[in-house]
Structures are given as structure tokens and as C-alpha cells.
Amino acid sequence: MQNQEAQKRFPWGSLVLTAVAVLGLVAIVYRFLYGLGASTNLSDGRAWGIWISFDLYIGVALAAGGFTLAAAVYIFAREKYHAVIRPAILTAFIGYTLVILALLVDLGQPWFIWKFILHPNIHSPLAEVGLCVMLYTIVLALEFSPVVFERLNWRVPMKWIRTIQIPLIVAGITLSTLHQSSLGGMALIFSETLDMLWYSPILPLLFLISAIAVGPAMVIVEGSLTSRAFGHQLGRDVLSGLGKVIPVILGIYLAFKIGDLVVTRQLGLIFSTSSYTILWWVEVLFGVVLPMILLSRPSVREHAWKLFGAAGLVVLGVMLNRFTISWFALEARPAVGYFPHWMEFAVSAGLVAWAVAIVMVCNKVLVMHEHAEPEHAEEPELEGKPGIMVEPGAAPGN
């Protein structure tokens, strides 16, 4: 029934999705048979390409909904957002799994990954990102596991998970804070090669804040799409509530971004005539300032598609920022250009297609949205308080 609904709303969707997913697999096989040189346009002057920019930098940023929502619901007791915690955590889990898969494709010799696990270099921000991403993926799997246990009706593992729920959530937030900021830390070593408009000693902080902002934005985008595709009834105030916090975070982000240029006396750069200046203005005006203005207006927040559009701007803004820092404004060797090989696109797109497919399957077979009515939230259920793990059957009113 829901199936047909989704088909009607996105005709051809699954066909295109399958094609892209299969093509991605073909490209991955080719890459391992013939090496990176044959399957990418990477070179010594540009050793990182779209797999790092899109799959790692953007993938991790856009999966930030998992930890921001977990913090809101479990730590700061914003019960209202319970309804979207499951999809947020699922997206994060699948997102991180794909990040890892993409990195395994990108690594020259991924079969030696165990060497990294055994001997990480503690001075390397990339090592920190790598370790945190692996650990956090495990944490996300555990955070999401109750939804699966619930479906299978396995009560014992459910109980175990429930006892470690809060430590898990805290670990997830901590790991996320560390690696979201360390992605900016990785760029700190580009002090001679990254354009000064973006290079800053506070890059880790900027990365963290923008990740916190894009987390809820991503949840809005995804929630809007899935509720259209699957006809879930998401309380309007849930998504618009998320929309309300975004301008605050973006405001802090903007203040740091501008403040940094002021403190380092580089504000003049944003009025210079280099082509990077335009990129900077596009990013700041359309990715930060405009969504700040839009999302501060109740009329936008209350309107499903306007809310979707404004949140989409935040997502695009962060994407542009990560692309710029890891690609456009980064000159590893002077005058070496890079444009991805079609197989690089195919792999990235293929992995996204897999992610979408898995999210769709989960939406069909698992209970993804707990409808947290206000009464539910105030239920005096002190000890076994509602978690991701609460079975809708067990919660009163369901």
C-alpha cells in the first residue's frame, strides 16, 4: 500500500536507483582490477579527489543529524524530537558506513587497513578522524539496534542495550564532536596551499559548528522527503522546531567566520577581486545569511516546502564549504588541475544510491517514526524512560 504510494510519487525512482547502484559497483570492481591511475583523474599534484571531498567531507558533515538529534532528545530532554530520532540515527549509520566503504575504495591498499588500527599516528588528524569514524559507526549500529530487535522481538539484547543507552549516547556525541572538528583539523596542514579566505587556525571549530547546524537541516530535508514518499505523519511542529534552532547556530558560525577574518586582519580578502571571493560570498550569502533570515520567520517554518527549501540551502551551503576547502580552493601543486573521472562520479553516486535504497527498505520493514504525542512525552515513566529502544507497543497510547 505504502509501496504503491511511493511508486506513484516517484515514478521510475527505483529503476534509476538500481542503475546507478549497479554502475557504481562496476566502477568499484574496475578500480580494484586496474588501480587508481586507470579509474581516476587523480595525480601527484592532486592526490585527493571527489571521494574525499564528497564522500568523506560532505558525507560525514551531512550525517551530523545523528549526534545533534541524539543530544537534543536524550541529553537535553527535548522529547518532541523523538519522532525523528530513528531516521536521523539510521541515516547517520548508513552515511558513516558509506563513508567507510568509499574510503576503502579510495585507499591505495585498503587490505592493510589493520595496520592503521594497530598503529595509528596520534599526531595525525586523519588518524583521529579514522578512528572516531570507525568507533562512531559501531556506536550508531548499537544505538539503532533496538529498532531491529524490536522488529524481531528479541527482548534480551534489547534489555542490554537499554542499560548502556546513555553512555552510548554520550560516547556518540563525544566521538562526533572530535571527528567533525578534526575534519577541519585535517585542513590545518594546508596552511601553504589552501586559500587564505578559508584557511584559519579555528577551522576545527568552524567545522564543528557548521556540522551542528547542518545536522537538523538534514533531518528536515530527509523528513520532508520521506514523509512525502511514505506518507508518514510527522508533526509539523517537529520539523519547524528544528528549523527554529538553525538560525541561532548559523549566527554563531557566521560570527566566528567573520570574527576570524577580522582578528587575523584579513577581512579585506572578502572584497578582493579573486574568483575565490565570489565563491566565498555565494557560500556565506546563500548558505548562511539567507537561511538564517528565512528560518527566523514563522511563515517559512510553518510551510512544509518553504521549510524544506530553507533547510536545503543550509545543506548546500555546507556542501559548498567542504568542496571549497578540500578541492576548489586547495592547490596542492601549483597549476595542477583536477576534474573527476566518470568512474569517480559513478562510485560516489552509486554509494549514495545504495544509501537511499537501504533507507527506503528500512522505512518499509522497520518502525521508523514513533509518534511522540505530547502526552506520551510527559508520561511519568521515570526509570525506563523512552529511548530509541522503546517499543511502540509498550508505550501507552499506541
Partner: protein, 264 residues
């Protein structure tokens, strides 16, 4: 202190003996090359098969024509970006200051390539099991008290090898003795915190491919950020746990209040 090299670009005659010596000593494979339009540099740059090349630059400076032959190789930084970046610590610094790569550790993330401010580490892109390749400063020769192959081969003494401090002194002396001949700068003395390989030139350095760089090592901000990580971890974990209990208690209080309200 570490060893250093003073490259006097005015003394180089462009014979490329250093290139050949490097290939031989390090047993590097030949490279398929072709003649390029605007330069006789060959091969065109560092690669997975070539640790050092000469760039041939035609420069007009102070109304005079200069044909400059600029040897390129790993600079062997005192604060090496590649070494800090590598997530498995495949780079090590020898006692005499060579930055050496150990392939047994490498997993091929190529962060070292991105992290090097001079674009030095190269990759075996053609291979199914690729490794990083870069100049070793002939660490094997040096550990036996010998001079790197390129340097002992140089017929004009354009490459001078010794203690790094002495090389700086020598460079300053040459500039002082011939202020008209050299630009007043030793490239590599202070750039990105100092490099083992240093250059003297008759023409501005950026004209021959040595770009201006800050004195701050590329590792500076990274080290600070990584130093902050354990504290960040502790602060976030504590704050989150704290907030959890505070908000939990608040909720309890609110509930108790509403219940006593109902009781009335």
C-alpha cells in the same frame, strides 16, 4: 643538529648528473618521457619513478638573462608536514634530519601528498599495489657516514653537504661576499620552519619555482589542535553527562510539581 645541503643555483650547469646518480643509487625505473614544448626539463616533475629533477627556467632579472637550473627533491623539512599527516606514521626522521618513508606501514591514504607544502611525495598510480615514493636523502648512505649520491656526483659543487648550521653560515657568507650576484635570501632557512635543503639564487625564488612561504611550520596549527583533543574529549563527555543528569532532574521536578498540582 641535522645535516643540510646548500644548493647554489648560480653554480649549476644543468648537466643532470644528480638525476642520473639518484636513479642509479635508488634503483628507480625509467620513465617514459617526451620532449615538451617550452622546456627541456625531463622528466617534467617528481613522480613515483623519479626522486629528483631539474627545472629549466629562463628568467630575465635586472635587465639580464638567466638560464636557471633548479634541482627539485624532498626538502627534508624540520617540521615535516608529511610526517605529521601520515595516519600510520610511515614517515620517520633520522638522527641527521632525513625524512624517510617506510612502505611497510603505508595504507595509501595519500594525505602525505596533500600535506607536503612542496608537493613532493609521489604515488605509483599505475600500480594495483601502489606505494609512496620520495627522496630519502640517501639515508642509507648517510648512516654509513657517506654523502648522498646526487651530491657526491655533482661536478661543479653546486650542491654542498654538511651540518645544516654550517650551510646557513656558508650561504650568508656567499651572499655577503657577492651581494650583487645573489638575491639576499636563503630559501629554506626559515620557510615552513626550516628545511634541510636550502638554496641560493641570482634571481627571485618564485621565478624558478620556489614559492614564498611563511616561517610557521605547516604542522604548527595541527599540533595545537591535536594537543587539544584529549581535553576536548574530557570536556564534552563530562558536559554531556552533566547535562543529562541536570535535565533528567529538571524533568522529574516538573513532573512532581504537575502531580502535586493535580493532587490539590
Amino acid at each position: 643538529m641535522g645535516k643540510g645541503v646548500l644548493v647554489d643555483l648560480t653554480k649549476c650547469i644543468g648537466c643532470r648528473a644528480c638525476q642520473v646518480a639518484c636513479k642509479q643509487w635508488n634503483e628507480l625505473p625509467v620513465e617514459d618521457t617526451k620532449v615538451q614544448g617550452d622546456t627541456i626539463a625531463n622528466p617534467p616533475g617528481l613522480s613515483g619513478k623519479t626522486y629528483t629533477t631539474l627545472a629549466f627556467k629562463e628568467v630575465e632579472h635586472d635587465g639580464q638573462f638567466h638560464w636557471v637550473f633548479a634541482k627539485n627533491q624532498c626538502m627534508h623539512c624540520q617540521y615535516a608536514g608529511c610526517k605529521t599527516a601520515c595516519l600510520v606514521g610511515a614517515f620517520d626522521k633520522t638522527e641527521f634530519g632525513a625524512i624517510v618513508y617506510e612502505k611497510n606501514k603505508c595504507i595509501g591514504c595519500r594525505y602525505c601528498q596533500m600535506a607536503c607544502p612542496f608537493g613532493v611525495p609521489a604515488y605509483e598510480w599505475w600500480s594495483r599495489t601502489p606505494w609512496i615514493q620520495k627522496c630519502t636523502f640517501c639515508a642509507d648512505l648517510q648512516s654509513n657516514g657517506l654523502t648522498p649520491a646526487c651530491i657526491s656526483t655533482c661536478p661543479t659543487d653546486a650542491l654542498l653537504f654538511g651540518e645544516r648550521d654550517d650551510m646557513i653560515k656558508e650561504g650568508k657568507q656567499r651572499i655577503a661576499a657577492n651581494p650583487d650576484k645573489y638575491v639576499n635570501h636563503i630559501y629554506g632557512e626559515k620557510e615552513v620552519g626550516g628545511t634541510a635543503w636550502m638554496y641560493l639564487s641570482a634571481v627571485p625564488f618564485e621565478e624558478v619555482g620556489f614559492y614564498p612561504m611563511r616561517e610557521e611550520p605547516v604542522t604548527h596549527n595541527v599540533d595545537n589542535a591535536m594537543f587539544a583533543v584529549p581535553f576536548g574529549l574530557a570536556v564534552v563527555a563530562t558536559a554531556m553527562t552533566g547535562c543529562y543528569f541536570i535535565f533528567k532532574r529538571r524533568r522529574k521536578l516538573a513532573q512532581a510539581k504537575s502531580r502535586s498540582g493535580e493532587g490539590k
